[in-house]
């Protein structure tokens, strides 16, 4: 089991945002984390990448926890944040170099992978530029390159589609497909439900910090008696139901 979240209670301050969240992601599987603004998607991801400490419950990646083995745990993860986060003082080439150092990758091999990714996103002629001055979409592409060039076993992707041009969206989905074939587990939060429906193997629907439903599209349909409905419609049902509570 690549990622295993068990009865996670957590949040930023004393007040828990997440209440008893449990789900898992298998190797070679893309799981979509779906929810309204403020449902707890990013909070969940922040717990997984180790920025937040659980109040209770556990998070395991390939059997490792961050408490017992922080370095090995972190080595398993590559992360694409919701808004691009770059170093103002580093050129694009140096971002790649830094990633290689941080994850202790083989220099030449990693550069080969990176060059392929940079070519795909048409960034290979901008190696000496400061990505901090790029447009939003290009910055996002840099983040994707840095995450996908690692050999992490778990990819955490937070809202990846905003600001990307249609071609880049397509390329990203292609890359995720490739990573899955290599046995990498992918956890992706998103609002773009029709894309999620087409590409995700399973879904975790979050609402108010709780797992409202999870499973494949078929499982979601049968569980809620929504035969033939799209993910979009199922989600709207559930979300509206919550509002009336």
């Amino acid at each position: 089991m690549a990622l295993e979240i068990n009865k996670l209670v957590g949040g930023y301050s004393q007040i828990p945002v997440l209440k008893d969240v449990s789900f898992d992601v298998q190797p070679g599987e893309l799981v979509g984390l779906i929810g309204l603004n403020g449902a707890g998607k990013s909070t969940t991801l922040n717990h997984v990448i180790g920025l937040l400490r659980p109040f209770s419950g556990s998070i395991k990646i390939n059997g490792l926890t961050i408490q017992t083995n922080p370095e090995e745990y972190k080595k398993q993860i590559a992360y694409v944040p919701e808004t691009p986060i770059l170093y103002d003082e580093l050129t694009l080439r140096e971002h790649i170099n830094l990633t290689i150092m941080a994850y202790q990758l083989d220099h030449d091999e990693a550069w080969q992978r990176a060059t392929k990714l940079l070519k795909m996103f048409r960034l290979d002629n901008k190696l000496e530029w400061f990505p901090a001055n790029f447009s939003k979409g290009m910055k996002q592409k840099v983040m994707i390159c840095c995450a996908f060039m690692t050999n992490a076993k778990l990819l955490i992707i937070d809202e990846p589609f905003y600001g990307l041009d249609p071609l880049a969206v397509h390329d990203l989905l292609e890359l995720i497909e490739q990573k899955k074939k290599e046995g990498v587990a992918v956890l992706m939060s998103t609002h773009v439900l029709d894309t999620a429906q087409r590409y995700c193997d399973r879904f975790v629907l979050l609402a108010n910090g709780k797992v409202r439903a999870h499973g494949t599209l078929e499982e979601l349909r049968t569980a809620g008696d929504y035969a033939g409905e799209s993910l979009d419609e199922i989600y709207l049902h559930l979300a509206k139901g919550d509002q009336h509570e």
């Binding site: 370095e71 972190k74 993860i77 944040p81 986060i85 170093y87 003082e89 140096e94 170099n97 150092m101």
Partner: protein, 400 residues
């Protein structure tokens, strides 16, 4: 509208007060104390060695009185939305600017008088001056500054605002003419020249309807330089450090990030390419070098060397938190203590480099090799002590 300026002036005062308090809280006071002490001491030692009236002394006086006329700018306290909100207030804004001009004039005159006062011992050593002549000298300085401020005022006007070269010329040439007349002929003639120039400027530049675009830009530039100054001592929110590529410094970057650990890789680039910390460090190093180069050899020289090395080391500390807000530094699989180790390494390298530069400069214009060697040894010992003890303590404090 009449109260607008006084309201803004008191707001402005509060702002300055807040920042000045931060400035005078730092180690910088000690440094300034030493600096002024050293300069005053050097000045007093130097004066008796001067013979009366050498050919260059009058040039120095002319230069000095031209320069002190440049100190103190026109603070209009105009804000960016003003052109929109105050556009209909034609008469009001005229009064407002007059108030601003008076306020700036008074502050500028105080600084000018202090500047003239500093030159007085020099002038009395090299020239024979009667009491009336001394009064005339001060009056020339005051009239020159009034002239300067009026030129600054007209440079914000619709009619003359775009003639920047002309304004700049008047800033320098008018005081220069009066100073030349004062020191080459005599102070009374200087006063007459200064008064004629002042009257000419005031009478000629009367149509002062404001050019909003220039007025806003000028005031913003002025405030920015004020903030930049305060930013040397504390964090000013509106001044963010820039990033420059500085390709020529890539060798330095490579040396600082040797070993290719992620943190040393980051810190080396943050230090060299960020303008803020490297700016302070290089400016202080340069200042220190100039001072120890000019200061006659002796214990004071060594004391300044020691002080500057310490001062510069303290300025490096903010770098530690440079990447605190970047999530990636938290999720990289790097041992937790690596950050400290690499930061200390950067501190050690930069401090050593800067210490050696200052110690080398202390050879002075008399090429006193002995003095330099002593300073070099002391500097190396100091760097060692800083690395061994001081940085450990400071970095532990930063960790909290």
């Amino acid at each position: 509208m009449n109260k607008l300026f006084s309201k803004r002036r008191s707001q402005h005062f509060m702002l300055l007060l807040r920042y000045w308090r931060l400035v005078f809280n730092d180690h910088f006071v000690i440094a300034l104390f030493f600096l002024f002490g050293a300069l005053a001491y050097g000045y007093s030692q130097w004066l008796p060695t001067l013979g009366p009236h050498q050919w260059w002394t009058r040039l120095v006086l002319i230069g000095w009185f031209t320069i002190i006329a440049q100190i103190g700018r026109l603070a209009t306290l105009i804000k960016r939305p003003d052109p929109v909100f105050l556009l209909p207030q034609v008469e009001g804004i005229h009064r407002y600017l007059n108030q601003a001009t008076w306020y700036s004039l008074i502050l500028a005159e105080i600084m000018t008088v202090v500047g003239a006062f500093i030159a007085l011992p020099f002038a009395l050593t090299t020239e024979k001056l009667t009491n009336f002549e001394i009064v005339a000298i001060f009056l020339v300085a005051i009239v020159n500054k009034a002239d300067w401020i009026h030129v600054a005022r007209k440079s914000l006007s619709l009619r003359w605002g775009n003639q920047q070269w002309r304004t700049r010329l008047e800033y320098w040439v008018n005081p220069l003419l009066a100073s030349i007349a004062m020191w080459i002929v005599n102070p009374y003639v200087g006063l007459v020249v200064a008064l004629i120039l002042y009257l000419a400027v005031v009478v000629y530049y009367r149509d002062l309807a404001v050019n909003w675009r220039i007025a806003v830009k000028t005031e913003q530039d002025r405030m920015y330089s004020v903030y930049r100054f305060f930013n040397l001592f504390t964090d000013v929110p509106s001044v963010q450090g820039n990033t420059k590529r500085r390709k020529w410094a890539d060798g330095l970057v490579r040396w600082l990030s040797k070993g290719d650990q992620p943190w040393s890789y980051l810190y080396a680039r943050a230090f060299v390419r960020g303008t803020e910390v490297s700016g302070i460090v290089s400016r202080l190093t340069l200042l220190g070098m100039v001072i120890v180069f000019l200061l006659p050899a002796g214990w004071l020289n060594t004391a300044i060397v020691i002080l500057f090395i310490y001062l510069i080391a303290t300025q490096l500390m903010p770098l530690y938190d440079q990447y605190e807000a970047n999530v990636f530094t938290h999720i990289y699989p790097i041992p937790a203590n690596q950050q400290q180790t690499d930061f200390k390494q950067l501190l050690a390298k930069v401090t050593a480099l800067e210490a050696i530069l200052i110690a080398l400069a202390s050879i002075g214009w008399r090429l006193n090799v002995g003095q330099m060697m002593v300073n070099l040894v002391i500097a190396i010992v100091e760097v060692f002590v800083l690395i061994r003890f001081y940085f450990n303590v400071r970095v532990k404090k930063l960790m909290k």
